[in-house]
Amino acid sequence: MVARAAREIAPGMVVNLGIGLPTKVVNHLPADFPVCLHTENGMTGIGPTLPPERADRNLIDAGGAYVSTIPGSAFFDSATSFAIVRSGRLDLTMLGAFEVSASGDLANWKIPGKFSPGVGGGIELAQKARRVVVLTTHTDRAGNAKLKQNCSLPLTARACVSRIFTDMAMIDVTAGGFVLVEIADGVSVADVVAATDAPLHVPDGPLPRF
Protein backbone atom coordinates (compact mmCIF):
# COMPACT_ATOMS: atom_id res chain seq x y z
CA MET A 1 0.00 0.00 0.00
CA VAL A 2 2.77 2.42 0.91
CA ALA A 3 4.72 1.35 -2.19
CA ARG A 4 1.62 1.89 -4.33
CA ALA A 5 1.09 5.32 -2.79
CA ALA A 6 4.66 6.29 -3.68
CA ARG A 7 3.67 6.03 -7.36
CA GLU A 8 1.34 8.97 -6.70
CA ILE A 9 4.38 11.26 -6.60
CA ALA A 10 5.29 12.56 -10.05
CA PRO A 11 8.73 13.95 -10.93
CA GLY A 12 9.13 17.61 -10.03
CA MET A 13 6.34 17.76 -7.44
CA VAL A 14 6.46 19.72 -4.17
CA VAL A 15 5.10 17.29 -1.57
CA ASN A 16 4.27 17.33 2.15
CA LEU A 17 4.08 13.95 3.86
CA GLY A 18 2.01 13.90 7.04
CA ILE A 19 3.03 12.19 10.28
CA GLY A 20 2.53 8.42 10.49
CA LEU A 21 2.12 6.14 7.47
CA PRO A 22 2.76 8.92 4.89
CA THR A 23 6.34 9.52 6.10
CA LYS A 24 7.15 5.94 5.08
CA VAL A 25 6.29 6.69 1.43
CA VAL A 26 9.68 8.30 0.86
CA ASN A 27 11.38 4.94 1.49
CA HIS A 28 9.82 3.68 -1.74
CA LEU A 29 11.23 6.42 -4.00
CA PRO A 30 14.52 5.95 -5.84
CA ALA A 31 17.34 7.96 -4.22
CA ASP A 32 17.72 10.17 -7.31
CA PHE A 33 13.96 10.76 -7.83
CA PRO A 34 13.34 14.48 -8.49
CA VAL A 35 10.92 15.59 -5.75
CA CYS A 36 10.94 18.51 -3.30
CA LEU A 37 9.69 17.53 0.16
CA HIS A 38 8.28 20.32 2.34
CA THR A 39 7.89 20.35 6.10
CA GLU A 40 5.73 22.78 8.08
CA ASN A 41 8.46 23.85 10.48
CA GLY A 42 10.32 25.63 7.71
CA MET A 43 12.22 23.59 5.16
CA THR A 44 12.08 22.44 1.54
CA GLY A 45 14.40 19.82 0.14
CA ILE A 46 14.30 17.36 3.03
CA GLY A 47 17.04 14.75 2.93
CA PRO A 48 17.25 11.36 4.63
CA THR A 49 16.35 10.88 8.31
CA LEU A 50 19.42 10.58 10.54
CA PRO A 51 20.08 8.53 13.70
CA PRO A 52 20.72 10.56 16.93
CA GLU A 53 24.50 10.16 16.80
CA ARG A 54 24.64 11.83 13.37
CA ALA A 55 21.79 14.32 13.89
CA ASP A 56 21.98 18.14 13.83
CA ARG A 57 20.15 19.41 16.96
CA ASN A 58 18.66 22.28 14.92
CA LEU A 59 17.32 20.21 12.02
CA ILE A 60 14.04 18.35 12.47
CA ASP A 61 10.84 17.79 10.49
CA ALA A 62 7.39 18.67 11.78
CA GLY A 63 7.06 15.25 13.39
CA GLY A 64 10.28 15.76 15.37
CA ALA A 65 12.42 13.35 13.35
CA TYR A 66 16.01 14.44 12.73
CA VAL A 67 16.44 15.00 9.00
CA SER A 68 19.21 16.26 6.71
CA THR A 69 19.74 18.67 3.85
CA ILE A 70 20.31 17.83 0.19
CA PRO A 71 21.85 20.09 -2.47
CA GLY A 72 19.30 22.91 -2.92
CA SER A 73 17.58 22.72 0.48
CA ALA A 74 16.09 25.94 1.89
CA PHE A 75 15.10 27.11 5.38
CA PHE A 76 12.45 29.74 6.15
CA ASP A 77 10.13 30.95 8.91
CA SER A 78 6.70 29.53 9.75
CA ALA A 79 4.77 32.26 7.90
CA THR A 80 6.70 31.55 4.68
CA SER A 81 6.19 27.83 5.21
CA PHE A 82 2.42 28.19 5.21
CA ALA A 83 2.49 30.74 2.40
CA ILE A 84 3.83 27.84 0.33
CA VAL A 85 0.84 25.74 1.42
CA ARG A 86 -1.96 28.30 1.14
CA SER A 87 -0.81 29.87 -2.13
CA GLY A 88 -1.07 26.60 -4.02
CA ARG A 89 2.64 25.80 -4.35
CA LEU A 90 2.14 22.41 -2.68
CA ASP A 91 1.31 19.90 -5.42
CA LEU A 92 0.44 17.02 -3.15
CA THR A 93 -0.02 16.12 0.48
CA MET A 94 -0.44 12.66 1.93
CA LEU A 95 -2.29 12.56 5.24
CA GLY A 96 -3.55 10.04 7.75
CA ALA A 97 -7.26 9.82 8.62
CA PHE A 98 -9.74 8.82 11.30
CA GLU A 99 -12.61 9.10 8.81
CA VAL A 100 -13.14 10.05 5.15
CA SER A 101 -16.60 10.72 3.76
CA ALA A 102 -17.97 9.81 0.33
CA SER A 103 -17.77 13.49 -0.59
CA GLY A 104 -14.10 13.71 0.42
CA ASP A 105 -14.52 15.31 3.85
CA LEU A 106 -11.56 14.49 6.10
CA ALA A 107 -11.52 14.03 9.88
CA ASN A 108 -8.04 13.43 11.26
CA TRP A 109 -7.37 15.70 14.24
CA LYS A 110 -9.83 15.17 17.08
CA ILE A 111 -11.80 12.43 18.80
CA PRO A 112 -13.91 14.36 21.34
CA GLY A 113 -13.21 13.18 24.88
CA LYS A 114 -10.36 10.90 23.79
CA PHE A 115 -7.83 12.66 21.59
CA SER A 116 -7.53 16.41 21.08
CA PRO A 117 -3.87 17.42 20.76
CA GLY A 118 -4.63 20.30 18.37
CA VAL A 119 -4.68 20.51 14.61
CA GLY A 120 -1.16 21.80 13.90
CA GLY A 121 -0.82 22.46 10.19
CA GLY A 122 -3.35 19.82 9.18
CA ILE A 123 -6.23 22.10 8.20
CA GLU A 124 -4.12 24.17 5.84
CA LEU A 125 -2.57 21.10 4.22
CA ALA A 126 -5.97 19.45 3.74
CA GLN A 127 -7.69 22.61 2.52
CA LYS A 128 -4.98 24.09 0.30
CA ALA A 129 -2.69 21.41 -1.15
CA ARG A 130 -3.55 21.02 -4.84
CA ARG A 131 -4.10 17.30 -4.34
CA VAL A 132 -4.87 15.51 -1.06
CA VAL A 133 -4.52 11.76 -0.76
CA VAL A 134 -5.09 9.75 2.38
CA LEU A 135 -3.13 6.76 3.63
CA THR A 136 -4.92 4.79 6.30
CA THR A 137 -5.94 1.37 7.47
CA HIS A 138 -9.33 0.52 5.96
CA THR A 139 -10.86 0.05 9.43
CA ASP A 140 -9.93 1.20 12.93
CA ARG A 141 -8.56 -1.13 15.63
CA ALA A 142 -12.10 -2.09 16.66
CA GLY A 143 -12.94 -3.01 13.05
CA ASN A 144 -15.12 0.05 12.36
CA ALA A 145 -15.10 1.45 8.84
CA LYS A 146 -13.09 4.64 8.31
CA LEU A 147 -14.66 5.26 4.89
CA LYS A 148 -18.20 6.44 5.61
CA GLN A 149 -21.11 8.21 3.92
CA ASN A 150 -20.62 11.13 6.34
CA CYS A 151 -17.93 11.80 8.93
CA SER A 152 -19.11 11.76 12.55
CA LEU A 153 -15.91 13.31 13.99
CA PRO A 154 -14.98 17.02 13.82
CA LEU A 155 -13.80 17.82 10.31
CA THR A 156 -10.32 18.90 9.29
CA ALA A 157 -11.57 20.15 5.92
CA ARG A 158 -14.55 19.56 3.63
CA ALA A 159 -14.45 17.91 0.20
CA CYS A 160 -10.66 17.85 0.07
CA VAL A 161 -9.67 14.18 -0.44
CA SER A 162 -9.15 12.89 -4.00
CA ARG A 163 -7.83 9.38 -3.38
CA ILE A 164 -7.51 6.92 -0.50
CA PHE A 165 -4.88 4.21 -0.12
CA THR A 166 -5.71 1.53 2.44
CA ASP A 167 -4.39 -1.92 3.27
CA MET A 168 -7.30 -3.30 1.19
CA ALA A 169 -7.73 -1.01 -1.79
CA MET A 170 -7.12 2.19 -3.69
CA ILE A 171 -10.34 4.18 -3.81
CA ASP A 172 -11.10 7.46 -5.58
CA VAL A 173 -13.52 10.07 -4.28
CA THR A 174 -15.69 11.24 -7.19
CA ALA A 175 -18.81 13.37 -7.62
CA GLY A 176 -20.70 10.07 -7.42
CA GLY A 177 -18.98 8.91 -4.21
CA PHE A 178 -16.36 6.20 -3.60
CA VAL A 179 -15.04 4.30 -6.64
CA LEU A 180 -12.91 1.17 -6.25
CA VAL A 181 -9.89 1.55 -8.56
CA GLU A 182 -7.34 -1.04 -7.44
CA ILE A 183 -7.37 -3.83 -4.89
CA ALA A 184 -4.71 -5.37 -2.67
CA ASP A 185 -3.45 -8.90 -3.25
CA GLY A 186 -5.46 -11.46 -1.30
CA VAL A 187 -8.49 -9.21 -0.83
CA SER A 188 -11.85 -9.72 -2.58
CA VAL A 189 -14.18 -7.00 -3.83
CA ALA A 190 -16.77 -8.32 -1.39
CA ASP A 191 -14.27 -7.82 1.49
CA VAL A 192 -13.76 -4.17 0.51
CA VAL A 193 -17.49 -3.52 0.10
CA ALA A 194 -18.16 -5.09 3.52
CA ALA A 195 -15.48 -2.96 5.20
CA THR A 196 -16.74 0.31 3.68
CA ASP A 197 -19.64 2.10 5.36
CA ALA A 198 -20.88 3.85 2.21
CA PRO A 199 -21.85 2.82 -1.32
CA LEU A 200 -18.77 1.70 -3.25
CA HIS A 201 -18.96 1.84 -7.03
CA VAL A 202 -17.19 -1.20 -8.51
CA PRO A 203 -16.26 -0.97 -12.22
CA ASP A 204 -17.00 -3.90 -14.50
CA GLY A 205 -14.18 -6.31 -15.29
CA PRO A 206 -11.00 -7.28 -13.42
CA LEU A 207 -9.36 -4.68 -11.20
CA PRO A 208 -5.62 -4.02 -11.07
CA ARG A 209 -3.90 -5.54 -8.01
CA PHE A 210 -1.16 -4.05 -5.84
Partner: protein, 230 residues
Protein backbone atom coordinates in the same frame (compact mmCIF):
# COMPACT_ATOMS: atom_id res chain seq x y z
CA UNK B 1 27.31 57.46 14.57
CA UNK B 2 27.20 54.39 16.74
CA UNK B 3 24.54 51.80 17.57
CA UNK B 4 23.61 51.18 21.18
CA UNK B 5 24.72 48.17 23.21
CA UNK B 6 21.76 46.02 24.32
CA UNK B 7 23.72 43.24 26.01
CA UNK B 8 22.59 42.35 29.52
CA UNK B 9 22.34 39.38 31.87
CA UNK B 10 19.50 36.89 31.49
CA UNK B 11 18.21 37.80 34.97
CA UNK B 12 18.12 41.54 34.22
CA UNK B 13 16.30 40.93 30.95
CA UNK B 14 13.70 38.63 32.51
CA UNK B 15 13.16 40.81 35.60
CA UNK B 16 10.76 43.14 33.73
CA UNK B 17 8.21 40.35 33.17
CA UNK B 18 5.13 40.86 35.39
CA UNK B 19 2.27 38.70 36.61
CA UNK B 20 -0.54 38.48 34.00
CA UNK B 21 1.80 39.26 31.09
CA UNK B 22 1.41 37.69 27.66
CA UNK B 23 4.67 36.06 26.59
CA UNK B 24 5.53 34.77 23.11
CA UNK B 25 8.07 31.95 23.04
CA UNK B 26 9.88 30.95 19.84
CA UNK B 27 10.62 27.39 18.83
CA UNK B 28 9.13 24.33 17.13
CA UNK B 29 10.16 21.35 19.22
CA UNK B 30 13.63 21.94 20.67
CA UNK B 31 15.07 23.89 17.71
CA UNK B 32 14.63 27.61 18.35
CA UNK B 33 13.18 27.20 21.85
CA UNK B 34 14.86 29.76 24.20
CA UNK B 35 15.51 27.23 26.94
CA UNK B 36 17.80 29.40 29.10
CA UNK B 37 15.29 32.29 29.06
CA UNK B 38 12.50 29.85 30.01
CA UNK B 39 14.47 28.59 33.02
CA UNK B 40 15.12 32.20 34.06
CA UNK B 41 11.38 32.93 33.85
CA UNK B 42 10.66 29.90 36.05
CA UNK B 43 13.17 31.24 38.60
CA UNK B 44 11.70 34.75 38.32
CA UNK B 45 8.27 33.36 39.19
CA UNK B 46 5.83 35.65 37.32
CA UNK B 47 2.39 34.03 37.43
CA UNK B 48 -0.93 33.91 35.61
CA UNK B 49 0.90 34.21 32.29
CA UNK B 50 -0.56 33.77 28.83
CA UNK B 51 1.97 31.91 26.65
CA UNK B 52 1.94 31.93 22.87
CA UNK B 53 3.98 29.06 21.44
CA UNK B 54 3.61 26.69 18.50
CA UNK B 55 3.78 23.55 20.65
CA UNK B 56 4.23 22.61 24.31
CA UNK B 57 7.61 20.91 23.81
CA UNK B 58 7.94 17.50 25.50
CA UNK B 59 7.67 16.56 29.19
CA UNK B 60 10.56 18.07 31.13
CA UNK B 61 11.63 20.31 28.25
CA UNK B 62 11.11 23.91 27.12
CA UNK B 63 7.83 25.54 28.16
CA UNK B 64 6.82 22.35 29.99
CA UNK B 65 8.80 23.80 32.94
CA UNK B 66 6.48 26.84 32.99
CA UNK B 67 3.37 24.68 32.63
CA UNK B 68 4.42 22.35 35.45
CA UNK B 69 5.38 25.24 37.76
CA UNK B 70 1.81 26.50 37.50
CA UNK B 71 2.83 29.91 36.10
CA UNK B 72 0.70 29.62 32.94
CA UNK B 73 -3.05 30.23 32.96
CA UNK B 74 -3.58 30.22 29.23
CA UNK B 75 -1.74 28.78 26.23
CA UNK B 76 -2.29 29.87 22.62
CA UNK B 77 -0.83 27.10 20.48
CA UNK B 78 -1.31 24.73 17.54
CA UNK B 79 -0.44 21.24 18.81
CA UNK B 80 0.29 19.53 22.16
CA UNK B 81 0.68 16.01 20.83
CA UNK B 82 4.19 15.39 22.18
CA UNK B 83 3.44 16.62 25.72
CA UNK B 84 1.09 14.33 27.64
CA UNK B 85 1.54 16.53 30.72
CA UNK B 86 0.19 19.58 28.87
CA UNK B 87 -2.80 17.57 27.62
CA UNK B 88 -3.48 16.41 31.20
CA UNK B 89 -3.38 20.02 32.47
CA UNK B 90 -5.79 21.03 29.71
CA UNK B 91 -8.17 18.13 30.36
CA UNK B 92 -8.23 18.84 34.11
CA UNK B 93 -9.17 22.47 33.48
CA UNK B 94 -6.00 23.87 35.06
CA UNK B 95 -4.73 25.19 31.73
CA UNK B 96 -6.90 27.05 29.24
CA UNK B 97 -5.82 26.22 25.69
CA UNK B 98 -6.68 28.06 22.46
CA UNK B 99 -5.82 26.02 19.36
CA UNK B 100 -4.97 27.78 16.11
CA UNK B 101 -4.19 26.40 12.68
CA UNK B 102 -0.40 26.61 12.54
CA UNK B 103 -0.01 28.96 9.60
CA UNK B 104 -2.81 31.15 10.93
CA UNK B 105 -0.98 31.48 14.26
CA UNK B 106 2.09 32.54 12.28
CA UNK B 107 0.12 35.11 10.26
CA UNK B 108 -1.66 36.50 13.35
CA UNK B 109 1.76 37.10 14.91
CA UNK B 110 3.16 38.54 11.69
CA UNK B 111 0.17 40.91 11.49
CA UNK B 112 0.75 41.95 15.11
CA UNK B 113 4.36 42.70 14.29
CA UNK B 114 3.44 44.63 11.15
CA UNK B 115 0.87 46.96 12.75
CA UNK B 116 -2.08 45.21 11.09
CA UNK B 117 -5.15 44.60 13.26
CA UNK B 118 -6.43 41.33 11.80
CA UNK B 119 -6.22 39.05 8.79
CA UNK B 120 -9.03 37.48 6.76
CA UNK B 121 -8.70 33.79 5.98
CA UNK B 122 -10.80 30.92 4.66
CA UNK B 123 -8.81 28.36 6.68
CA UNK B 124 -11.19 26.38 8.89
CA UNK B 125 -14.42 27.71 7.37
CA UNK B 126 -17.05 25.01 7.89
CA UNK B 127 -15.14 23.34 10.75
CA UNK B 128 -15.33 23.80 14.51
CA UNK B 129 -12.26 26.07 14.38
CA UNK B 130 -14.61 28.68 12.93
CA UNK B 131 -16.92 28.54 15.99
CA UNK B 132 -17.34 31.94 17.61
CA UNK B 133 -15.27 33.80 15.01
CA UNK B 134 -16.48 36.88 13.19
CA UNK B 135 -17.24 36.16 9.53
CA UNK B 136 -16.79 38.74 6.78
CA UNK B 137 -18.09 38.32 3.26
CA UNK B 138 -15.72 39.39 0.53
CA UNK B 139 -16.52 39.01 -3.17
CA UNK B 140 -19.35 36.64 -2.23
CA UNK B 141 -17.31 34.25 -0.09
CA UNK B 142 -17.08 33.91 3.72
CA UNK B 143 -13.80 34.62 5.51
CA UNK B 144 -12.89 34.39 9.18
CA UNK B 145 -11.56 37.44 10.98
CA UNK B 146 -8.35 36.34 12.73
CA UNK B 147 -7.22 39.12 15.10
CA UNK B 148 -3.54 40.03 15.18
CA UNK B 149 -1.51 38.83 18.17
CA UNK B 150 0.92 40.93 20.17
CA UNK B 151 2.62 40.19 23.47
CA UNK B 152 4.12 42.09 26.36
CA UNK B 153 7.32 40.10 25.98
CA UNK B 154 8.84 37.80 23.35
CA UNK B 155 11.52 35.25 24.24
CA UNK B 156 13.69 34.50 21.21
CA UNK B 157 16.50 32.03 20.50
CA UNK B 158 19.02 33.06 17.85
CA UNK B 159 22.16 31.41 16.57
CA UNK B 160 24.06 34.68 16.42
CA UNK B 161 23.53 38.30 17.34
CA UNK B 162 25.49 41.49 17.64
CA UNK B 163 25.41 43.92 20.54
CA UNK B 164 22.70 46.01 18.81
CA UNK B 165 20.37 42.98 18.64
CA UNK B 166 20.63 42.08 14.97
CA UNK B 167 19.76 38.36 14.87
CA UNK B 168 20.20 35.35 12.62
CA UNK B 169 18.85 31.84 12.99
CA UNK B 170 19.97 28.43 11.71
CA UNK B 171 18.14 25.56 10.03
CA UNK B 172 14.70 24.72 11.45
CA UNK B 173 15.44 26.74 14.60
CA UNK B 174 14.11 29.79 12.72
CA UNK B 175 10.35 28.84 12.72
CA UNK B 176 8.34 31.39 14.78
CA UNK B 177 11.35 33.35 16.12
CA UNK B 178 11.60 36.12 13.49
CA UNK B 179 7.81 36.62 13.57
CA UNK B 180 7.61 36.86 17.37
CA UNK B 181 10.67 39.11 17.47
CA UNK B 182 8.55 41.77 15.72
CA UNK B 183 5.35 41.32 17.73
CA UNK B 184 6.10 42.19 21.37
CA UNK B 185 6.61 45.38 23.36
CA UNK B 186 9.78 43.96 24.91
CA UNK B 187 11.89 41.49 22.94
CA UNK B 188 14.53 39.43 24.72
CA UNK B 189 16.93 37.37 22.61
CA UNK B 190 19.32 34.69 23.78
CA UNK B 191 22.07 34.01 21.25
CA UNK B 192 24.65 31.26 20.97
CA UNK B 193 27.19 33.86 19.87
CA UNK B 194 27.16 37.64 20.27
CA UNK B 195 29.46 39.23 17.71
CA UNK B 196 31.13 42.64 18.03
CA UNK B 197 29.43 45.40 16.03
CA UNK B 198 30.64 45.27 12.46
CA UNK B 199 31.38 41.54 12.51
CA UNK B 200 27.80 40.63 11.48
CA UNK B 201 27.34 40.99 7.71
CA UNK B 202 24.29 43.25 7.21
CA UNK B 203 23.02 40.98 4.42
CA UNK B 204 22.99 38.01 6.79
CA UNK B 205 20.65 39.64 9.34
CA UNK B 206 17.24 37.90 9.62
CA UNK B 207 15.79 40.13 12.37
CA UNK B 208 16.90 43.78 12.40
CA UNK B 209 18.11 44.89 15.82
CA UNK B 210 15.54 47.70 16.02
CA UNK B 211 12.99 45.06 17.03
CA UNK B 212 15.16 43.73 19.86
CA UNK B 213 15.47 45.26 23.36
CA UNK B 214 17.85 42.90 25.17
CA UNK B 215 20.54 40.47 23.99
CA UNK B 216 22.10 37.88 26.21
CA UNK B 217 24.92 35.54 25.21
CA UNK B 218 24.55 31.87 26.10
CA UNK B 219 27.56 30.15 27.56
CA UNK B 220 27.90 26.42 27.20
CA UNK B 221 24.53 25.02 26.14
CA UNK B 222 22.70 22.79 28.61
CA UNK B 223 21.82 19.19 27.75
CA UNK B 224 18.24 20.30 27.06
CA UNK B 225 19.40 21.94 23.79
CA UNK B 226 20.93 18.68 22.55
CA UNK B 227 19.58 16.03 20.19
CA UNK B 228 16.60 14.32 21.86
CA UNK B 229 17.03 10.55 22.23
CA UNK B 230 13.56 9.04 22.34
Amino acid sequence: MKLSDKRCSIQDAISAIKDNDTVMVGGFGVPGTPIALIHALVAHGARNLTLIKNDANEPGMGIDHLLQSGQVARLITTHLGLNSGAIALMNSGRLEVEFNAQGILAERIRAGGAGIKAILSDIGVGTELADGKQVVELQGKPYLVEPALRADVALIHADRADSFGNLAYVATARNFNPLMAMAADRVIAEAERVLPLGQFDADEVHTPGVFVDHVTELGELSEEYAVVRR
